[in-house]
Amino acid sequence: MINAIPTDWLFGLGGGLLIGLGGAVFLLGNGRVMGASGIIGGLVDGSGKSNLAERLAFLAGVFVMPALLFPVFSEVNTHATTNVAVLIAAGLCVGVGTRLANGCTSGHGVCGISRLSLRGMVATVFYIMAGGLTVVLFRHILGVI
């Protein structure tokens, strides 16, 4: 029975549970919403000065854990594009967009939807639709990515 389920989906579910546990620790422990764009953005634009150490500690964990796990799963590949123009355009859009919307996949998606936040659900619908249209346009019509 379990063999019928693709391994990727099981890893997705297991990894997802860990992501949710991380969010639960941040919420129940520190009383904060675990939103990656907010935590990073507050360091960039200076709005997060009051809890700088907390933000850096969180990001240190995000950065270090994959570095520790990577040698265990040596076949892992991120398949990232090497097109510098695409990387820069994408990074700028993600940076400006997530800060303008006050959240990304973790803040609006995971933390917002789980508390039935209307803003989180609407944001998630829009970024998934925009992402889908972007892949269709740039992969299937323009052939850029």
Binding site: L18, L27, S37, A60, M65, P66, H79, R139
Partner: protein
């Protein structure tokens, strides 16, 4: 100190989860968005898996306070403004183009190679420009 240790634990769980779930693999993310290609439903399992413990955590906040003290974040006003929609669309475009969002962008830095650093630098630049973009937008077309 307690606050910093808890943040480190939360970040470590988040980072491990992003790595194990495959969300640092841009092909899996773009595969989820690519409904006209070979569609990859993994992201739905990740989202479902993450929302479950998080929903329990939100329920658990009822009548309690955070471990370090203070209060839990109040629900946001259910207001759907232009910035929420426009920002999310812009974010979605970048997410589709590169297959990376802010969490996985950090989680993949140590082993993903130079493209991840280019994306990360551009994302930080975008975040630095965001307050200006917001001000420009608000002066050109008032939000409400």
């Amino acid at each position: 100190m307690q606050r910093i240790v808890l943040a480190l634990i939360a970040g470590s769980l988040f980072g491990a989860g992003l790595f194990i779930s495959g969300m640092t693999d841009t092909a899996k993310v773009q595969g989820w968005l690519d409904v006209f290609g070979s569609w990859d439903p993994t992201l739905a399992f990740v989202m479902g898996g993450a929302i479950l413990p998080m929903a329990i955590a939100w329920l658990f906040t009822n009548g309690r306070t955070p471990v370090v003290g203070g209060e839990f974040p109040a629900p946001p006003e259910p207001k759907l403004g232009r910035n929420l929609v426009l920002g999310s669309v812009l974010f979605g475009v970048g997410w589709g183009l590169a297959g990376l969002c802010p969490g996985p962008a950090v989680a993949s830095l140590s082993y993903g190679g130079w493209p991840h650093w280019v994306f990360f630098a551009a994302m930080l630049a975008g975040m630095a420009l965001a307050p200006m973009a917001r001000a420009q937008l608000d002066s050109a077309v008032p939000a409400e």
